[in-house]
């Protein structure tokens, strides 16, 4: 059996048996939603509906309803797109990359993180769609043979690579997530009392019987999917960064973008996981599974990736000076001291300075502080994309066309709408899906559970 050093902290607290885990994980699915859930759900739904209204208005009238102008041709739309795609990185990172690194603490957070990934990629995918203007021609982004003459997609464009990268990533993430859910759906099916519920979960669990052969195939497919998902998770934000970096615009064209975007995506994704799970563990009373140790680990990853992003910011600044190219130099000077200085310094404060508090154990094990920082980081990462996109564009090579950007109510409405949509999906998920991968978690109970660790100590091995 796997041996674990006694010095490691337990990953499951309390005196838990296998049955306790089943009961605790199934509880939210089997109970009625409390009033607070309905309140939050209604708010999210209202925001979502408002967003739908703004989207319909955009499609009906055109993207002239947004605040874009001839100098700043990309602003909130792509900022929101990149922000959501970035958030959609943590799930697969936790389930695939941390699986490859054998980080067992991932087991009680991967399910929700993956759900978050899928829901945020859905939000991201909305933006290129509605930005097209003529959304009924959206299928033109796929290289499908057509009868309209020699129309064909531009394979040289990173925007097209984005279509491939994100759709592949989304498909693999959904499959990966679903495969993991099968044994857990079966668990809920087996416990269900009402015939309708039983029937629904019966269909969802694909006739899972828990036989040795089932488990063997389950493990095999999980490993293959993890192997596939790892390069995919890196490729997605790499290609998103290339939307900018392949251009010749100072502030966009810089070679560090691919790895730096990936680090930033992990950073924002973990912040969002922290935001969601700090609430989930409290509301669903899952403090024994999503322990303070888990929050601490995620805070450390936030600190690490925040610092990597910080090194990248400073490298960009330094190299802009070092290059001797006046346009590069001005682009960065303008970022830090131009009309959008407040956006730049918000980004710096939120993304580089605030995670440094996590060096202190006291702070990174404080729930309230972690929650606040996770929100701050998400704001900071939104500003990062805004800074990259708008401040690089608003003062171009021709000073007579220098201008600023101000969002219209439609820009703001669509953004709020996607936040609403995201929470609608997540709230529905939280009440109908097992939010912890209980089948997987049970495999570490005897090596990492608190009670078993105590037993090991007593027996002296």
């Amino acid at each position: 059996m796997h041996y674990e050093a006694p010095i490691r902290e337990p990953l499951i607290n309390g005196d838990k048996s296998y049955h306790d885990i089943t009961v605790d994980v199934a509880a939210p699915v089997e109970s009625k939603a409390p009033r607070s859930w309905w309140i939050v759900f209604s708010l999210a739904l209202i925001a979502f509906l408002w967003g739908i209204g703004c989207i319909l208005y955009t499609i009906g009238v055109g993207i002239g309803t947004w605040g874009l102008n001839k100098t700043v041709g990309w602003a909130w739309d792509i900022t929101n797109f990149v922000w959501w795609v970035g958030i959609g990185h943590a799930g697969t990172l936790i389930s695939a990359v941390l699986l490859l690194f054998r980080q067992k603490w991932r087991m009680s957070i991967n399910r929700s993180a993956e759900a978050m990934t899928i829901f945020s990629v859905i939000q991201a995918a909305l933006f290129p769609g509605i930005h097209m203007g003529r959304i009924w021609l959206a299928y033109f982004v796929f290289p499908i043979p057509n009868q309209f003459g020699s129309l064909w997609v531009n394979f040289n464009s990173p925007l097209l690579w984005d279509v491939f990268a994100i759709s592949t990533y989304f498909s693999v993430s959904v499959v990966f997530w679903y495969v993991g859910l099968i044994p857990d759906f079966a668990m809920i099916r087996d416990r269900a009392v009402r015939p309708v519920t039983k029937h629904i979960y019966k269909i969802l669990s694909f006739g899972w019987g828990g036989k040795a052969k089932h488990w063997q195939r389950f493990e095999e497919v999980s490993l293959v999917l993890a192997g596939l998902a790892t390069p995919l998770v890196l490729s997605v934000h790499t290609i998103v960064s290339m939307d900018f970096a392949t251009s010749v615009i100072p502030g966009w064209h810089t070679t560090i973008f691919p790895p730096y975007f990936v680090a930033g995506a992990i950073f924002s994704g973990f912040a969002m996981v922290n935001t969601l799970l700090i609430i989930v563990r409290k509301v669903f009373k899952m403090e024994d599974y999503i322990t303070l140790g888990h929050i601490e680990m995620m805070n450390i990853i936030i600190m690490l990736t925040g610092s990597i992003v910080g090194v990248a910011y400073i490298t960009e600044l330094f190299i802009a000076w070092y290059s001797g190219v006046e346009y590069e130099q001005y682009a960065f000077l303008n970022r830090a001291t131009g009309p959008y200085w407040w956006a730049y310094w918000s980004m710096m404060t939120c993304n580089v300075f605030s995670p440094q508090f996590m060096w202190f154990k006291k702070l990174r094990t404080s729930l309230i502080f972690s929650f606040v920082i996770s929100i701050v980081v998400n704001i900071g990462m939104w500003f990062e994309r805004f800074v990259i996109i708008v401040t690089s564009l608003h003062r171009d090579y021709l000073p007579s066309s220098w201008t600023k950007f101000s969002p219209s109510f439609v820009d703001i409405g669509i953004f709020i709408g996607t936040i609403g949509f995201f929470f609608v999906l997540f709230l529905l998920y939280a009440r109908s899906f097992p939010v912890i991968a209980q089948a997987e978690l049970k495999t570490i109970l005897k090596s990492s559970g608190e009670n078993y660790k105590k037993l090991h100590d007593k027996d002296g091995h």
């Binding site: 796997h2 041996y3 674990e4 050093a5 006694p6 010095i7 490691r8 054998r102 390069p231 890196l234 790499t238 290339m242 970096a245 392949t246 251009s247 010749v248 064209h253 810089t254 070679t255 560090i256 973008f257 691919p258 790895p259 610092s307 990597i308 090194v311 990248a312 490298t315 960009e316 330094f318 190299i319 000076w321 070092y322 290059s323 001797g324 190219v325 006046e326 346009y327």
Partner: protein, 478 residues
């Protein structure tokens, strides 16, 4: 306890002698220094002049026939690169960037020939520094990330990290001789006399703009800081690790080491990028790339992981370290595989973005490499990407020593070539060659490495048995 046998010691001394002879020979016969002006230098000189003339004719023809390729390469470069100088376009760049007409002056060719032995030394110095620094980084990560499985190979990492002072001393010599213009050392173009002086004929406005970072005192000071930081951290971490064997409170000691390692990683994050700019990027003084530091880091890390694996396999082969099982070996192989792919990712990102944007002040870097170094350049990428992918993908091959050693040897050659292609085009230009002196110098450094590393290995028990994760590591099974 590992024993540093007389046989191995003799081997390392012989290798060091080969290295000394090669370095000495390279300075005496390779056209280095000023005493060789009449011989080899003159010859290459004439050859070059001839070549230049020939290509000029070809160049005119190309224009006449409107060869699309010639147009693509030459027109923008001639216009933007040599005639205008308002942007980051060099006035007196010291390597030839055009595929066609040569614009090198006699003095520049002289510099290039004089640089050959120095460039050879720098390539090998950097390559071996990377092994030590990469191992130090990996070791610090083990503590900071609370990794358990690597405990049985920690001593090897410690020994590798203890080698860093040797290449750092050579580096200091290279820097000081470069600053003093000793023996034709013109590795770092920005150190040239008068290059930042507006009244000098050598004046280069772009390089002068970098004076705040590229100046002798700051540069030397940075190297001293790296030296103290890296070598000191390696010494401290090893001392604490050996101290763990005698201390009563291993958990507290381990925690202390964890904090120390986290601190080192912060220092490393900054210095590894700066070191890459200092030692390598500033050779192509005009050129810049934000990714450069991380790219160098990736290559450094793969090299160190490969050497770590090879040393572990050697020790196992000699009957040491029975605690290291197939799972450990497979995991080391996984790291070699994964970070080869990571290296390729960064290589591709930098190359593709610069190729795609095709901005003159950036693309010159790859034009130089695509021109006179094309075969070597493509071979290097193939060795560092295709081979690890093909050989190390499967689980079985990562558990097969033969496969691992083959892959490791190929990757070491590949990453040595990578360092060569990073350094040589900017310092030696078209005058490059790879020959016995390079191999000899490499063997000399290898001898030094074996001597220092294996001597360090013999000083402490191979297994840190008091490490709190030692038992977990011994039972490592995947």
């Amino acid at each position: 306890m590992f024993e540093f046998t007389g046989k191995l010691k003799n081997l390392s001394i012989i290798l060091m002698l080969i290295g000394v002879i090669s370095v000495a020979g390279s300075f005496m016969f390779n056209g280095g220094g000023h005493h060789e002006e009449g011989g080899h230098g003159e010859e290459a000189h004439t050859e070059h002049a001839k070549e230049g003339h020939h290509e000029e004719t070809g160049h005119d023809e190309a224009h006449a026939s409107h060869d699309p390729n010639a147009h693509y390469y030459e027109t923008p470069i001639e216009r933007d690169y040599h005639k205008t100088s308002s942007r980051a376009t060099p006035d007196n760049n010291h390597f030839d960037v055009t595929n066609g007409a040569s614009t090198l002056t006699d003095e520049q060719i002289h510099h290039q020939i004089g640089n050959k032995p120095w460039a050879n030394l720098l390539v090998n110095t950097f390559f071996f520094l990377a092994i030590g620094l990469g191992a130090m980084f990996f070791m610090a990560v083990q503590y900071a990330a609370q990794a358990g499985w690597t405990v049985v190979v920690l001593r090897v990492m410690e020994a590798m990290a203890s080698f860093m002072w040797v290449p750092m001393i050579v580096m200091l010599i290279l820097i000081v001789t470069g600053m003093g213009h000793v023996g034709g050392n013109h590795l770092w173009h920005w150190m040239a006399e008068g290059i930042m002086d507006p009244t000098s004929p050598h004046y280069d406005s772009i390089i002068a703009g970098k004076e705040g970072y590229l100046n002798n005192p700051f540069y030397l000071g940075r190297t001293v800081v790296y030296f103290i930081g890296w070598v000191g951290a390696a010494f401290m971490l090893r001392k604490m690790s050996i101290g763990m064997e005698t201390t009563n409170d291993t958990a507290a000691q381990w925690k202390k080491m964890r904090n120390f390692s986290a601190g080192f990683l912060v220092f490393f994050a900054v210095t590894s990028s700066m070191m890459a700019w200092d030692y390598i990027m500033s050779i192509d003084t005009h050129w810049f790339s934000t990714l450069f530091g991380w790219y160098i880091f990736a290559g450094m890390f793969v090299t160190a992981l490969t050497v770590l694996t090879l040393i572990v396999l050697y020790l196992k082969n000699k009957g040491y370290m029975p605690e290291v099982n197939h799972s450990h070996i497979q995991d080391l192989g996984k790291f070699m595989f994964a970070f080869s792919v990571f290296w390729t990712y960064l290589w591709f990102s930098q190359f593709m973005l610069i190729w795609y944007s095709n901005i003159p002040e950036e693309v010159t870097y790859y034009m130089a490499r695509w021109g006179e170094y094309k075969g070597l350049f493509l071979t290097m990428v193939a060795l560092n990407f295709v081979f690890p992918i093909l050989i190390l993908m499967s689980r079985d091959s990562k558990r097969n020593y033969g496969f691992l050693i083959t892959a490791g040897a190929i990757m070491l050659i590949g990453h040595w070539l990578d360092v060569f292609i990073l350094i040589t085009p900017g310092s030696v230009g078209g005058q490059w060659s790879i020959g016995l002196t390079h191999i000899g110098t490499f063997l000399g450094f290898a001898g030094l490495f074996i001597f220092v590393v294996f001597k360090a290995l013999a000083k402490a028990p191979l297994m840190p048995t008091k490490h709190p994760m030692y038992v977990e590591s011994k039972h490592h099974h995947i």
